[in-house]
């Protein structure tokens, strides 16, 4: 199985974020990490390769800093990487991101393409499905299990409220992967060493530009949400806070 995993670098979960001066994006001087569902997508690709042999290729679209995500993926066992490198990739809508990735991998023939189900920054939950449509491939979303069958694959889709569904589908196909589908591995020392010699292809914006169009959606303004609730902050040493909380539980919330 030849598998492509689309990965994204996003601000770290606990990183304090600040708005830029124009109020259109965050200030970029924060710590970054791999988008969590993408890490599960990579792990799943590595497991499928271990079962069925083949190749795992990782791709990302982002500034120079995003290559860290690819290096970590190579250290965990991916075979090669593709980096669409340009600061401009950050500001693309999901349609253009998918078109750029499709253009960058057009000479490869993959059996499976994985993305995480959504990113922690934009949270579109769209790029994988759009990529499937552009490439003319069937897709399934929010996947919790993948089994190879004679005719293709059988996947387990997560539905809402604790429901699931198995779906049989042919290959090649695009799947968006849910967090928790597997247990993540750590990179080994030898893996980290080997990663340095694995191929990483750089793709410039100019190389994929002709496949892209203008963004059809635009962030006019990014801002801190207005509070809809009047939140009361309880302060003091722990013992005092505990007393204050019990007072609220008793007299205001009335559950004691």
């Amino acid at each position: 199985m030849k598998i492509l995993v689309c990965m994204k670098q996003v601000p770290q979960k606990d990183a304090p974020l600040k708005l830029n001066e124009a109020g259109t994006w965050i200030r970029e001087d924060v710590s970054y990490e791999v988008n969590e569902p993408d890490a599960f997508a990579l792990e799943e690709a590595l497991r499928q390769k271990e079962k069925h042999s083949g190749e795992v290729v990782v791709v990302t679209a982002g500034p120079a800093r995003a290559s860290q995500v690819l290096r970590e993926a190579l250290a965990k066992g991916a075979d090669r990487a593709i980096h669409l490198e340009d600061d401009g990739f950050v500001a693309l809508d999901a349609y253009n991101t998918a078109r750029a990735i499709a253009a960058a991998v057009k000479d490869d023939k993959f059996d499976l393409i994985f993305t995480g189900l959504q990113s922690d920054d934009y949270g579109y939950a769209q790029t994988g499905v759009i990529l499937a449509q552009i490439l003319g491939l069937p897709h399934a979303t929010i996947i919790m299990q993948i089994e190879k069958t004679d005719a293709g694959i059988r996947v387990k889709r997560e539905l809402e409220a604790g429901f699931f569904q198995y779906v049989d589908m042919p290959l090649p196909a695009v799947l968006t992967i849910q967090s928790g589908i597997n247990k993540l591995r750590y990179a080994t020392l030898i893996g980290i060493k080997q990663a340095k010699t694995k191929p990483m292809r750089k793709v410039t914006m100019a190389e994929v530009q002709s496949a892209m169009g203008s963004n059809l959606q635009k962030i006019e303004k990014l801002y801190v949400p207005q509070k809809s609730k009047n939140t009361e902050f309880l302060e003091g040493p722990p013992a005092e806070v505990a007393k204050k909380l019990v007072d609220k539980l008793k007299n205001d919330i009335r559950v004691i």
Partner: protein, 328 residues
């Protein structure tokens, strides 16, 4: 006149109630913009749902039909709706942000060479320009988003962003038009099996009056017991955010959020939960929310009634003692 189309969701011939919220959103936008509002239901033999929604204040209701639309597949829905929208163009197409909508709308929008603004929580209509508000960076920020292009703009609304009970009834039933779409053999590539539940739900958290819920801030599996002691002291149920259940620290049937249960207890006490959107949608209807988190910028504080910025391991032990004392 520009037109807004609401596509309601049905599963196995039953209207998904969240669709009322989308109709409420459509009515609000129609009233702001002066645009016409219509609705559509998509499926096989779903005329009863078309009749059900035609009682609301809508210009028209379409019953989009094909035998290939049941069971749901993204291929059939995208193909059938593309055909429908090419014949019945709309400026805006509104849908609830459900797992099913997430599965086919990006495909449909791409097939029509247009865009979808997903997981929207509100809108603004300012000097003739329509902006949609959506959360970004896991709810830490919100963005006002504009759209361009010639095709319909798809907008999917987060659960609970509009109130279902605000839907206006119509003076008379809206006319219903049945539109049969043609989905040739070979279009549908996926073969979906029956929908099922993993295990019989052991706990029904929707009935609990008090819920103590834990998130990543609990750090280790052995610390879950601390939250359990607090839940026991309060006489409540223990629940968790998704990562805790993914790790197997608590069973999946204790998960709150879009992929778990949606609850609205008297008290929701969130311990070390940052408040990712997927979690918030499952508990924001709670009567009172107490949040304890060490990160003062955690989005959970946006919806909390009472907030404690601090280490839960310092605060929970004395809290358990105080609760026990108060209860006698």
């Amino acid at each position: 006149m520009d037109k807004i189309l609401v596509i309601v969701e049905q599963r196995e011939g039953k209207l998904n109630r969240v669709s009322w919220e989308t109709i409420a959103a459509g009515q609000a936008i129609a009233s702001s913009t002066g645009w016409a509002l219509e609705a559509a239901v998509v499926g096989s033999g779903v005329a009863a749902i078309a009749a059900e929604i035609s009682a609301k204040k809508l210009g028209k209701v379409y019953d989009v039909e094909s035998a290939k639309l049941e069971p749901y597949t993204p291929d059939a829905f995208a193909h059938g709706l593309k055909q429908f929208l090419e014949k019945h163009p709309a400026k805006l197409v509104l849908l609830p942000h459900t797992y099913q909508v997430r599965d086919f709308v990006p495909k449909l929008a791409t097939a029509l060479e247009t865009t979808a603004i997903s997981d929207v929580i509100g809108y603004r209509y300012e000097s003739g320009k329509l902006l949609f508000t959506r959360q970004m960076f896991q709810g830490k920020f919100v963005a006002d988003v504009s759209f361009s292009g010639s095709g319909p703009c798809f907008v999917t609304f987060q659960n609970g962003s509009f109130r279902a009970d605000k839907v206006e009834a119509g003076a008379a039933a809206a006319p219903i038009e049945t539109v049969n779409v043609d989905i040739p053999d070979g279009i549908v590539r996926n073969k979906p099996q029956e929908v099922f539940k993993e295990a019989k739900q052991a706990v029904d958290l929707t009935q609990a009056e008090i819920i103590v819920s834990v998130g990543r801030g609990i750090k280790e599996q052995k610390n879950i017991d601390l939250a359990k002691q607090l839940a026991d002291a309060l006489g409540g149920e223990l629940a968790a955010s998704r990562p805790i259940c993914d790790n197997g620290w608590l069973p999946m049937d204790r998960q709150i959020g879009s992929s778990g249960q949606t609850v609205a207890p008297k008290l929701y006490l969130a311990l070390g939960i940052s408040g990712a959107i997927q979690h918030i949608v499952g508990m924001k209807g709670s009567r009172s929310i107490i949040a304890i988190n060490k990160d003062s910028e955690a989005p959970i504080f946006e919806i909390a009634d009472y907030a404690v910025v601090g280490n839960l391991f310092d605060i929970v032990p004395p809290l358990i003692e105080e609760v026990k004392k108060a209860k006698g």
